[in-house]
């Protein structure tokens, strides 16, 4: 088990374990991934953020062999995914977006049968299955039918299953989508534990909070391209001002308030009935708004987050 500092140092040594160069994937005429470059370093947690259809899942599928790149290069653990697919798959663990647990098998049996796909000897498989059930807090459910598990339990079992071969890299496609807050926090906590043990994690998410909580570095994807890359903090600093004032004026005075904010704030965005003003001095801006005498229902003052970066880069329109 490694300490946080050691993990950071390793990432600092920058040994890339997943490397994409001009990586492309098209389906018929549709380009899902349009030539992206990224590298994931050993021992870090690397995130792909983006709206639906941004190309995140396709990129993940290329990493674990469920999609074959149309062009460019992709190596995982130093191995080319096209020519050495079996070896790549042997060294990674996959948590898919959709539950595909084996419903014909009980909880522990799911892990044991999966272990055979990796040719683990039965003795080792039995030990690892019990350790992993404990790790994801499912020991009491070992002999339960999979279909009787809750959504959060199924996701944890998927995580345990992805770890049965003790992979160097764990690939997680939206690991907490559809989970309630308690279940989500438990998954986060387990993933942090994995990261602290030195596993490389590659995950997709569209929860900004998740990315901020877990990822050492991340990229924001949109329309098959990488819109931005960096650390969560670095991206906030680069793309938005540190503080945000959210105001909800009367519809009648919205335009007037917009004028005031545009004059005073560093950036203003309109989201439906609300105005978001980005600034480095929110109390000063608030005073200016009060001085203007324009009425508003409520004001929220908060620190800028990854969500603001995300919306800035990918727009506020609904993406289907």
């Amino acid at each position: 088990m490694r300490t946080e500092t050691e993990r950071r140092t390793e990432a600092g040594a920058r040994q890339a374990t997943v490397v994409a160069r001009r990586l492309r994937k098209s389906y018929g005429g549709f380009q899902a991934v349009k030539g992206v470059d990224f590298e994931v370093y050993r021992g870090e947690c690397f995130g792909f953020l983006g709206p639906n259809g941004a190309g995140k899942t396709t990129t993940m599928k290329m990493i674990y062999g469920a999609a074959i790149p149309t062009g460019g290069e992709l190596t995982v653990a130093g191995l080319d995914v096209k020519s050495r697919e079996r070896e790549v798959k042997r060294r990674i663990g996959v948590v898919p977006q959709e539950n595909n647990l084996d419903e014909d098998l009980k909880v522990r049996e799911n892990l044991l049968v999966y272990a055979r796909y990796y040719d683990l000897p039965r003795k080792i498989a039995l030990r690892r299955a019990d350790e992993l059930l404990e790790f994801v807090e499912l020991s009491e459910k070992a002999d339960a039918e999979v279909q009787h598990l809750s959504g959060g339990m199924k996701r944890r079992l998927l995580i345990a299953r992805a770890l049965i071969n003790d992979p160097e890299i764990v690939v997680l496609d939206e690991p907490t989508t559809g989970l309630d807050p308690q279940a989500r926090h438990l998954v986060w906590e387990r993933l942090r534990k994995l990261a602290s043990e030195g596993k490389t994690l590659v995950l997709t998410t569209h929860y900004m909070e998740e990315a901020a909580q877990l990822c050492d570095r991340l990229v924001i994807m949109e329309g098959g391209e990488i819109a931005s890359a960096g650390t969560p903090r670095g991206m906030i600093e680069e793309h938005v001002s540190p503080e945000v004032l959210e105001l909800r004026p009367d519809p009648g005075s919205l335009e007037r308030l917009l004028d005031v904010l545009e004059a005073e704030a560093e950036a203003v965005e309109r989201a439906g009935e609300a105005l978001l003003a980005y600034t480095s001095d929110a109390s000063n801006l608030m005073q200016r708004v009060r001085d203007s005498g324009i009425e508003f229902e409520n004001a929220v003052h908060r620190r800028a987050g990854l969500e603001d970066v995300f919306l800035r880069l990918t727009g506020r329109q609904l993406i289907d």
């Binding site: 070896e87 996959v94 990796y118 299953r161």
Partner: protein, 265 residues
């Protein structure tokens, strides 16, 4: 796109083993219907209809004796067909079991080959039980239904027949995306084969082109082999075995190619 993929024996075995594990848990409930169905046919047609055509018999045998070995072959066809259609579809599209398997060192081609082998195994298991019942019933009623020690070769033959019908069933599965389309496969392929492959009446006595058409279809040869093994084979049976082998080998790689395309984009 892509080369023709050849399955790895290790991966094939692992997929077969997964199915065997599940079968071991549920074999009693799984085995029963497949077991009763041919018995019902035997009772209704052999004993019911048989009494009306008993006098002359067919090819020197009573009617029950004539149809029993053919039912062994059709039983293998049905077992493998259900396995490679509905069961495979559920694992492909509904439970997404194959997606989970192909993200391990097992490849799509291994999945399909493992399913072929499993369908054959299941056909052989069912058929062996059925063969035992035939032997016992025949002895009990003083009208032997299995009359040769060559019948010991029937179970391995049923395995081969099962693999053959798994290949055709998987081919259909690899081409459809709605489960209700299987009614076409069963109505237009499986049922006609069942009725016109020489199980219930000898087709070679019909005028041309009926025997020629029968020769082109898979169950006809499977029935011939089972009947010959049950009564004591002639050298001509080797031609039927060869037909089954060639047909199976010639088709086997197509579903592999198509299923791979469904699993890996």
């Amino acid at each position: 796109m892509g080369a023709w993929r050849v399955p790895s024996p290790r991966g094939t075995f692992r997929v077969w083993q997964r199915n065997a594990t599940i079968f071991r848990k549920y074999w009693k409930t799984l085995l029963l219907p497949n077991f009763f169905e041919p018995l019902l046919y035997l009772a209704a047609l052999g004993l019911g209809l048989g009494t009306f055509i008993q006098r002359g018999g067919i090819e020197g045998q009573s009617y029950v004796q004539f149809i029993a070995p053919g039912l062994l072959a059709s039983n293998a066809m049905f077992a493998a067909s259900f396995e490679s259609t509905f069961n495979t579809f559920v694992k492909l599209k509904i439970q997404r079991t194959y997606d989970a398997i192909v993200s391990t060192p097992i490849n799509a081609e291994d999945v399909v080959a493992g399913e072929y082998l499993w369908a054959g195994t299941r056909a052989a298991l069912y058929g062996t039980g059925f063969l035992a019942v035939l032997a016992i019933l025949g002895a009990a009623f003083g009208e032997p239904l299995v009359r040769s020690f060559w019948a010991l070769l029937i179970p391995p033959m049923l395995l081969l027949i099962g693999v053959m019908f798994s290949v055709t069933g998987t081919l259909f599965t690899s081409l459809i995306d709605r489960i209700d389309l299987y009614s076409y496969y069963f109505t237009l392929v499986v049922t006609p084969l069942f009725l016109f492959s020489g199980i219930f009446f000898p087709v070679q006595d019909f005028p041309a082109p009926v025997p020629q058409i029968a020769w082109l279809t898979p169950l006809y040869h499977a029935v011939n082999v089972c009947r010959e093994l049950a009564t004591g084979p002639s050298p001509g049976v080797l031609a039927d075995v060869a037909w089954v082998l060639v047909f199976t080998a010639a088709l086997a790689l197509f579903p592999i190619r198509f299923m791979r395309r469904r699993l890996i984009s």
